[in-house]
């Protein structure tokens, strides 16, 4: 862990310490910045917000969105929920796992893509849906997902 990250984290803590219900916005700020919530930040957060380290750990791990380890360069999410299932997301998910050689919550060997499941992106009118980083994609077929993967790998 570089000192630079710790300085960043301390700045986020400083900016949030007086916010009512500070923990969630603070964890978001840290993850947006660092890419995940490093365990080393727990004690600093706990101290600033008057919580126990266990409480901070409990919150970070309760929510699917927060990561405790650095992800790949890009995050590819495939929607697994009902509307997308009705439009073939299961086959899509199998294809993506095979193509990337990873399961959910894993990162490709080249570090380019972390694959995650998601339960509805609100894009159910254009199922099956996926997202790459913050960009939602609709009516995703094999061709489209290949494009997304190639782009993420910088091809």
């Amino acid at each position: 862990m570089s000192d630079e990250i710790l300085v960043d984290i301390d700045q986020h803590i400083e900016a949030h310490v007086n916010v009512p219900g500070a923990l969630m916005p603070l964890l978001h700020a840290i993850q947006d910045d660092v890419g995940y919530v490093p365990e080393i930040s727990y004690s600093r957060i706990a101290k600033a917000l008057n919580l126990s380290v266990a409480e901070v750990h409990g919150v970070v791990t309760f929510y699917h969105h927060f990561r405790t380890h650095a992800p790949g360069k890009h995050i590819l999410q495939i929607c697994r929920a009902e509307s997308c299932q009705a439009m073939g997301s299961e086959a899509l998910e199998a294809y993506v796992k095979k193509t990337l050689g990873v399961d959910y919550h894993q990162t490709t060997a080249d570090g380019a893509i972390t694959l995650e499941p998601v339960y509805c992106l609100g894009n159910c009118a254009c199922s099956p849906a996926a997202s790459i980083d913050d960009q939602v994609c609709g009516r995703v077929d094999v061709e489209r997902v290949n494009e997304i993967i190639a782009e993420a790998r910088g091809a």
Binding site: A22, G58, A81, E82, C120, G122, A125, A129, D134, Q135
Partner: protein
């Protein structure tokens, strides 16, 4: 004079390339020296036609769609900026049958205005409800909402006016308005469309709620899967502050209301109101015991209104046109309109706002045009992952809270997900348990353990092991979850499971018509 062109910023439109369409239109206009005014509107909700581009002409707005980025050059060649003929030409937007057949009250402005422009909002009847509310007492506002018959659109259908009245009458130094924008149900996207397409109506609705009950702080708890909505909401809120519709002195009335968006973090259960409040307070999203009700002891222990996006976004029209106007729509005890979302295997997916009473069949076939695959629609799930699956024999049920409960189904947040005849309902029942296991907050055993057991038993049924015994086991398990769960996540997971078994027994290795 500059030509006004509309390209949606709705994230479903973006998911189909709307940003590239917009960029190409700007580039093409620059190239041909045409001066255009590009407005990024919300979606009109005809998603099979997205990206739907509109041009303002002397006859009205003319639509083109579905426009792909590569189509833009040919649109210019066809003089689309003056409504010219083109294979993608759809005619006047206002004349489109799909829209004309709707009753758009909550969605009156979505797709029409610039979502973040206060000026445009006001020009389309925005803030009229707030202006009326500012002339009324809290009790009078609450009465108007009660008279409208509005029931919560987040799922439980509790009368909004009655909830507000409890908060109004709870004495406290601080009260809160919390907007539930967690919209976790598969097949639903109406909250998102409001937040991306007309966020100021939500700002207005929450402000009116604040005036009604005496709350000065509002929070919008927004799911983290909606990054585009976050941007639109924050822009709209900043503009509302700037124009004096939020802040210390709303419209010079001396009344105060502050509003802030808070991001959720991907837990479905945080859509449950008490879990949501825990999360807002910075804790794990574990469901609270009730009582106390959030209306008495809610956020930070203070009286709190928790309402769904659509409930709150419907308040402005109620305060503008009166409770009576709104309650004249609908049937039975389901008053007003419901923004229905067509999803899954449907040819024409989109947003249909209709008065209660419209049937599933009308929605699936008249609006939806049948399945996308061309195969028969075999099952529909209404009301999200905790909603029942309905077979064709129930498609004539009118959308009405009571009519749905009579057939052991729910309307929920108004999402309809259709499946064609390739669906395996045993797999869907397994998924219902799996989803519950993934999302359970862990507080009660029937939900936490029962859901995992449910997955195991469904696996055995799918593998055709000990069939009769395992079906009985699923039923017992469902019974325990129905009766022994603290919230509807555990308590309603049996709806999709049991409805699947009861209506589609043949997928569970039972004879058609056989109820094990």
């Amino acid at each position: 004079m500059a030509i006004t062109i509309y390209v949606p910023r709705d994230s479903s439109a973006l998911s189909l390339g709307a940003n590239r369409v917009a960029a190409n239109i700007q580039a093409e206009a620059d190239k041909s020296g045409v001066e255009i005014h590009l407005i990024r509107n919300g979606s009109r909700g005809l998603f099979w036609l997205e990206t739907m581009v509109e041009v303002r002409t002397s006859k009205g707005r003319v639509a083109y769609g579905p426009v792909m980025p590569k189509d833009v050059a040919s649109l210019f060649d066809a003089d689309f900026i003056n409504g010219g003929a083109h294979p993608l030409h759809l005619g006047l937007t206002d004349e489109m049958a799909w829209l004309k057949k709707q009753e758009r009250l909550t969605f009156a402005r979505v797709g029409i205005t610039d979502p973040v422009s206060v000026e445009d909002y006001v020009a389309h009847d925005g803030f009229k409800g707030l202006k009326n509310a500012l002339t009324k007492s809290g009790a009078e506002i609450v009465k108007e909402v009660t008279d409208s018959g509005l029931r919560g659109r987040g799922g439980a259908a509790f009368p909004t006016g009655i909830k507000w009245n409890t908060v109004l009458n709870a004495p406290a130094d601080q009260k809160y308005i919390v907007c539930n924008a967690d919209e976790g149900d598969s097949g639903t996207y109406s909250d998102r469309m409001i937040m991306e397409g007309d966020p100021l109506v939500l700002v207005e609705g929450m402000t009116i709620a604040g005036l009604a009950v005496g709350a000065t702080q509002g929070y919008i708890y927004l799911r983290s899967e909606y990054p585009d909505a976050l941007v639109t909401l924050n822009e709209a809120i900043a503009n509302a502050y700037q124009a004096g519709y939020l802040g210390e002195d709303i419209c010079g009335s001396g009344q105060c209301f502050h509003l802030e968006v808070r991001r959720a973090a991907g837990a479905y259960v945080c859509g449950e109101e008490t879990s949501l409040l825990e999360s807002l307070e910075g804790k794990r999203g574990v469901v609270r015991f009730k009582p106390p009700l959030p209306a008495i002891e809610g956020l930070f222990g203070k009286p709190t209104v928790v309402n769904n996006v659509i409930s709150l976004a419907t308040v402005p029209i109620v305060l503008d046109k009166g409770g009576k106007f709104y309650q004249d729509f609908g049937m039975g005890r389901s008053r007003g309109t419901l923004p229905i979302q067509l999803a899954g295997n449907i040819k024409q997916c989109g947003l249909v706002e209709k008065a209660f009473g419209v049937t599933l069949r009308e929605l699936l076939y008249d609006f939806g045009g049948g399945s996308a695959s061309g195969k028969p629609i075999r099952a529909v799930q209404v009301g999200g992952p905790l909603g029942a699956y309905l077979p064709e024999s129930q498609f004539d049920t009118p959308l009405d809270y009571e009519k749905f409960s009579e057939i052991w189904a729910v309307l929920g947040h108004g999402g309809i997900v259709a499946f064609d005849d390739t669906v395996d309902m045993a797999k869907m029942a397994r998924y219902a348990f799996e989803f519950c296991a993934i999302e359970s907050c862990g507080k009660c055993t029937p939900c936490r353990i029962g859901s995992t057991r449910g997955v195991e038993v469904m696996d055995k049924i799918i593998a055709k092991q000990d069939h009769a015994k395992n079906i009985t086991l699923v039923r017992d398990l469902s019974d325990t979850m129905l009766n022994g769960s603290l919230c509807a996540l555990g308590g309603m997971t049996p709806y999709p499971v049991l409805s699947a078994i009861n209506h589609f027994p043949e997928d569970f290795g039972l004879k058609k018509g056989q109820v094990a």
